[in-house]
């Protein structure tokens, strides 16, 4: 049997010294009957092996669409990538033909979703779905695939993996299903794992188990992890760096310690001040007035300007603020980042 992974590794242009994953100026729009919704408007970030990058933002800001564009699983039409690059080891995935891209996706970049039940096939046993991956992509025999599947379920800490391999997805609890999905994503040893709200639907005690498991597996495999979430507690616990998104743009990208102690973008700052903390009582919660904009009518200039306490006339005019370099590896799309960070 041919080893597809080896075949991919010699794809022309794949440079082992290039950054693991790099997203440059990504634009995605949805062309719907109600108009063009500009869901992603210039997202930039990069990811190194073993690093955890959190993409943080509120509902509808474009987190999942960004992940779908990276994976090449955008709902298209109506969704289209209109600009930008998604470079894996120096190769722009957006320019690859579909068949190569599919192999790339299977072998190098994997994704897990919020809702494990809908991502797993209800009519096949968990063992069959896992084994299928090994048979199809690794050319393993039935017996080897089964052995490997049990090992993997053991690794994600499914109790009595050997006995449960014949069970169907609905026979597992929510947390266990999430483990099965993690096992499936890791089956082909990806270098990059994108986790889209992997614990949002789970109880905190289960969330802690799953996040602990992800961190452990990531360390063992030196994987790059993109964690999509709106939970600032989870981010503070696990991320190395954060990209804060607002209306389809990364408005601040920074190391986790920097952004929590001295945010440079007014939106990031306001978000941090608006959440109650477990270890404090009697905080004043800061309210961000108004609502995020409709993506069919994003305000001129800085998209955050109607809600921003720092806004000046220049903020209401195009061009929108570029990603200003705040420090090496740190950017903020705010004309007045110096004032924000200075306080």
């Amino acid at each position: 049997m041919t080893d597809i992974k080896a075949e991919i590794d010699v794809l022309p242009g794949l440079d082992p010294h290039a950054p693991l994953l790099e997203v440059n100026n990504l634009h995605v729009e949805f062309r719907t009957q109600y108009g063009v919704a500009r869901a992603v408007n210039g997202a930039n970030f990069r990811l190194a092996p073993g690093e955890t990058l959190a993409i943080l933002g509120e509902s509808g800001c474009g987190k999942s669409v960004t992940a779908q564009a990276i994976m090449g699983i955008l709902d298209s039409p109506p969704g289209f990538v209109t600009q930008g690059e998604v470079k894996y080891r120096g190769t722009d995935l957006l320019k690859l033909p579909e068949n190569q891209r599919r192999k790339m996706r299977a072998n190098h970049i994997a994704m897990i979703f919020q809702d494990a039940l809908s991502a797993l096939n209800p009519v096949f046993t968990v063992g069959y779905q896992l084994g299928e991956l090994f048979r199809k992509h690794r050319g393993m025999s039935r017996a080897d695939a089964k052995k490997r599947s049990i090992e993997l379920l053991d690794q994600v800490k499914i109790p009595a993996a050997k006995a449960r391999i014949g069970d169907y997805p609905h026979q597992f609890s929510g947390g266990m299903r999430q483990r099965v999905m993690i096992a499936m994503a890791l089956a082909l040893d990806p270098e990059v794992l994108i986790a889209d709200e992997p614990t949002t639907a789970l109880d905190v005690t289960v969330q802690a188990q799953i996040m602990g498991l992800l961190a452990e597996l990531q360390q063992q495999r030196n994987m790059g992890l993109i964690l999509i979430t709106h939970d600032m507690g989870v981010v503070a616990d696990v991320a190395d760096r954060i990209s804060v998104m607002y209306a389809g743009k990364v408005v601040e990208e920074a190391g986790v310690y920097d952004i929590y102690s001295r945010p440079a973008h007014p939106y990031a700052k306001a978000l941090l001040e608006s959440i109650p903390r477990l270890d404090m009582k009697g905080q004043q919660l800061n309210v961000i007035r108004g609502l995020p904009p409709a993506l069919t009518a994003i305000p001129q200039g800085c998209a955050f300007n109607p809600r921003c306490a720092y806004a000046q006339d220049v903020c209401r005019q195009d061009p929108p603020p570029p990603p200003y370099a705040v420090a090496p590896g740190r950017t903020a799309r705010c004309h007045f980042w110096r004032d924000v960070i200075g306080e």
Partner: protein, 338 residues
């Protein structure tokens, strides 16, 4: 204890079992889901009682019993000295005015075919004695204003509002009959963080203005800490620990409370790895078949043989200055850096 007159609501031994049946034509009862299984709680005037616990522990069944959407299997619900479970007819209708509910999902809890004015004014149709017909339009507009919505929007439909605004509509409706008690079931869970703070601040403002008492049910322990004066922690249909803010968050004594708090991440990377960590094994057992003795014993790292034999009652103990349902209750700080 505080003045008895201060107590607006008190439950004693509240139980709700949902029968599990088998068969299609002739249903036979083969068991019961013990959703709420002996809950005592007290709510005082102007106070917020937080109720926390994991999915399926009975948090949503409790408010349904309190507002009369479900009939309790056993126990009493005293509101201002009257047992709601014994009242009938107009006396019951009248008593129910005093306790209203705000639901979690602002997307499905409002009738999409009714205007906002009709939704907020509907309680007046059911309780016409509260506001005379002539004054209702004005009353609805005042309510919209109270919750921070534009009174001119009375004729709009729910889909024309954002999630946070819909939650305000739900709150306005709950306020219509001027209740003393509002039970909120996960009122901010479906909202974005920037909108959550708006609704929390609104609820706090209304409480100060009208002297309301809240039962605030949520799974987010940080939000509950922020808004509550006292907190009850539920596990498998029972309250396992109850106390004021400092007792629950600074000195929790029940292992389940400790595990729950320890799992909540704090939005401060400097605390990473600095807190006492408890990782629970396994899942919550089925409420149809809870473990004997202490219900938490299948996941508890402190369990001894007595825990399987004797059901620990919720009471003040040698090493717990507030009620805790654990034979070995003792404080452990899992919230701060150690």
């Amino acid at each position: 204890m505080t003045d008895r007159n201060d107590v607006v609501l008190e439950t004693k031994g509240l139980v709700k079992h949902f029968p599990i049946t088998q068969g299609i034509l002739f249903k036979t009862k083969v068991g019961a889901v013990r959703a709420v299984d002996g809950v005592d709680m007290t709510l005082r005037r102007g106070e917020t009682l937080g109720v926390v616990g994991e999915s399926g522990c009975g948090k949503s069944t409790l408010p349904k019993l309190l507002v009369g959407l479900e009939k309790p299997t056993a126990g009493s619900i005293n509101v201002r000295g009257q047992d709601m479970t014994k009242l009938k007819g107009s006396a019951l209708r009248h008593a129910r005015r005093n306790i209203q509910m705000v639901l979690q999902d602002p997307y499905t809890s409002l009738n999409p075919r009714m205007t906002v004015g009709d939704i907020i004014g509907e309680p007046f149709e059911i309780h016409p004695e509260v506001t005379p017909r002539k004054g209702r339009a004005k009353a609805v507009q005042d309510l919209l204003d109270t919750v921070g919505l534009n009174p001119e929007h009375v004729n709009r439909y729910p889909h024309q509002f954002s999630g946070g605004q819909r939650q305000r509509i739900g709150i306005a409706r709950a306020l219509a009959l001027k209740p003393e008690i509002i039970v909120c079931d996960e009122p901010v869970s479906a909202l974005d963080v920037s909108i959550q703070a708006q609704v929390i601040n609104l609820l706090e403002g209304l409480q100060n203005e009208f002297g309301l008492s809240y039962i605030f049910i949520a799974h987010d322990l940080s939000v509950v800490r922020h808004i509550s004066d006292r907190v009850s922690v539920m596990y498998l249909g029972r309250v396992v620990e109850t106390g004021n803010d400092a007792q629950i968050y600074e000195n929790p004594t029940h292992p389940y409370t400790q595990a729950l708090l320890s799992a909540v991440p704090v939005p401060d990377p400097r605390l990473r790895g600095q807190r006492d960590q408890i990782v629970l094994e396994g899942d919550v057992p089925s409420p149809a078949n809870p473990p004997s003795g202490c219900r938490f014993r299948t996941r508890c790292w402190k369990a001894q043989s007595i825990c399987a034999e004797q059901d620990p009652v919720l009471s003040i103990r040698e090493r717990s200055d507030h009620p805790s349902a654990c034979h070995f209750a003792e404080p452990r700080d899992v919230v701060h850096a150690v």
